[in-house]
Symmetry: D2
Subunit: 213 residues, 4 copies
């Protein structure tokens, strides 16, 4: 394994000693966390990232960035020539994202505190938009976010709310996006106790992705 | 987007025009398929790959490679300096894997038709072992596979069978592996029909991963 | 066990030799089936019935009765002094329901072929309404159905569609119903094959129930 | 609804003012609870009860009765001519079961504190055995419990542990039971918050049922 140390890993993983791997999926516990700020948990996160189909050099918007786990993994995938615009209206989330970006030595995230409806207008055209939180305005945010997306760019939405599932789908159908994928994910984690290995569920998440025509 | 064409994408994605992306998650329908040969579907596959924590240059064993989707995505992640040993006892699976490797222009997979219990003995030490099929011999295959794994190497097992879940767990506990993660994944896919978007379930999969001490 | 033969089982289960049990949950394969007509599968069905809180003598409406499994089990629970109004617009479903009612020797179902929006108006006040199919008009059907419900009566809706989940919830919130319960159910069934017992998923169903003030 | 008060509801529901309904599915919050004692939650409980196919007059064993929710609902279904033997080794569970039986005015439960391996031997032949907890001895308890079961009697096991799933299946296969049903249930409950209705998962449960030849 000694020879591995000197290997070039694109322009990306040299950014990080905490996560030197090429595959996404940083364990949740590697991130600084606070109770009031949501995180997209690791198994859901890798599916969300896969639906974005990232390449080195891509620019990406992350609406409702929360703990920053999507922004940070996206930043690793797009590398130093790419860029992530992370938007959250909550000051605690913004502080946490900054802390986590620093922890993983990520330099290519531009942090924007504010309402997505305002912030989106000022961001140049991007390759991918993630929407992880919409504060009850999912339909409008999806529509506005798509104006920031280049042709063939991809949007990936994740939500745990029935109403937001419906609003996101409506917006995507109304916009005439193509290659629409709807994926509900339910994860249960094993926990070893004295009498065996029990399964503990996490909440179901709906992931909707599509491509701009 | 014109500038993107000339970008260097590590040593990896130039291998493939069908999947030029850095993130794993090739849609199932991109693979040649035959009904009798199983495939690890895209959402489960990206979780399986994430648990392996791949780096460029890694060598990997894929036991029960089936359609070859794990082998091919792993081959892309480890790049031209890495290597994937794909083992399957079924001739149809082997033929299908070869067809898919050719389709994605993957050169760094070594295809081995045969029983895993025989084949594993001849493979040099690797960084990661995937076990996607064990033909009812999960306990023995996990134990043997771990002898092929370097220290700190990772094993990732996925199964849909209750008995294999139990055998895989027993083997991992008995071997004293660490950083054990047990994840059940249930995926449901949306399908748009005239009256709305229904959700169609896929079978639950148990993914067990661990690290050799 | 000989003494059991002569026992009285309320006024209910003597109706049926095929299902002499007091607990609901008739196996799906006991019903006549046709491919084009949906059935509420047994595990989901017993949850749906439990949310209705049935008593002997209750009158019940079943909107979108399909194969008739809910109507028939409800008819058994409410007994000969109770009544089930089964509505479906599809002639095949109506024929199938009649066949199944006959198979289980159920006499207390009134079968109504037609659109629920028309049929509901002519039905007297009931204790419980089930809505298993709404043909894209969930919001209006829930609102109309609640006009047929007595005070403290219960409505139980099951749906597999994202849009209908949202419409049903909106209607229930707008109507100011109380004791609202939302339950997503995912069932996977074991299947024994040569190498073990695999789990095969069924589609997720959302069950929404509430009580009229 | 006044006329309903005087109705006869078999010999059963007059036992209870708290749950006057014929259908099982008592809401979890109707039971006295303590944190250290498990409860089979309402949606899983109605499926468990349905797999038992209860009739009035049946006698039933409940191994690992915990909070008593299965025992109490079974006692209601089998009525005053039936009998439930509830076994738990934990004194807190036993006290809780007694409190709940009293709360629902149930008289036909015989409470047995002790190890199931000892207690089962002293119980006469029954129609149904439930196993909700086996303390790591699932295989042996299933085998012993089946000796207490009449021909055509049913056994219903629920577990959240991978190892117990496997042991229960092994025992059932080894005993040559028939009409084997394996059902994994995942429930998520809706919770209304300011921005919509989120889904909160409960842990997956495996329910295995079978009939003695």
């Amino acid at each position: 394994m000694d020879g591995r140390k000197g290997r070039k890993e694109g322009g990306v993983s040299m950014n990080s000693n905490l996560w030197p791997y090429r595959t996404p999926g940083i364990p949740d516990e590697f991130f600084a966390r606070v109770e009031s700020v949501p995180i997209t948990k690791e198994e859901v996160r890798v599916i969300v990232l896969s639906k974005a189909r990232l390449r080195e050099g891509y620019s990406v918007i992350d609406v409702g960035s929360g703990t920053g786990s999507i922004s940070i993994e996206a930043a690793m995938q797009v590398g130093s020539t790419g860029r992530v615009y992370a938007i959250d209206r909550d000051a605690d989330a913004i502080a946490l994202l900054r802390e986590n970006a620093s922890r993983f030595n990520i330099k290519n995230i531009e942090v924007i505190q504010g309402d997505a409806m305002d912030a989106l207008a000022a961001i140049p055209e991007v390759d991918v938009v993630f929407i992880g939180g919409a504060g009850g305005k999912m339909y409008d945010i999806v529509r506005l976010a798509c104006t920031r997306l280049r042709s063939k760019g991809r949007i990936v939405i994740d939500t745990i709310m029935v109403e937001s599932m419906n609003s996101a789908l409506s917006a995507i159908y109304d916009l005439g996006l193509k290659d629409i994928d709807v994926t509900q994910v339910i994860i249960a984690k094993g926990k070893r106790i004295s009498t065996g290995t029990m399964l503990l569920s996490r909440n179901p998440v709906l992931i909707i992705s599509a491509e701009k025509v």
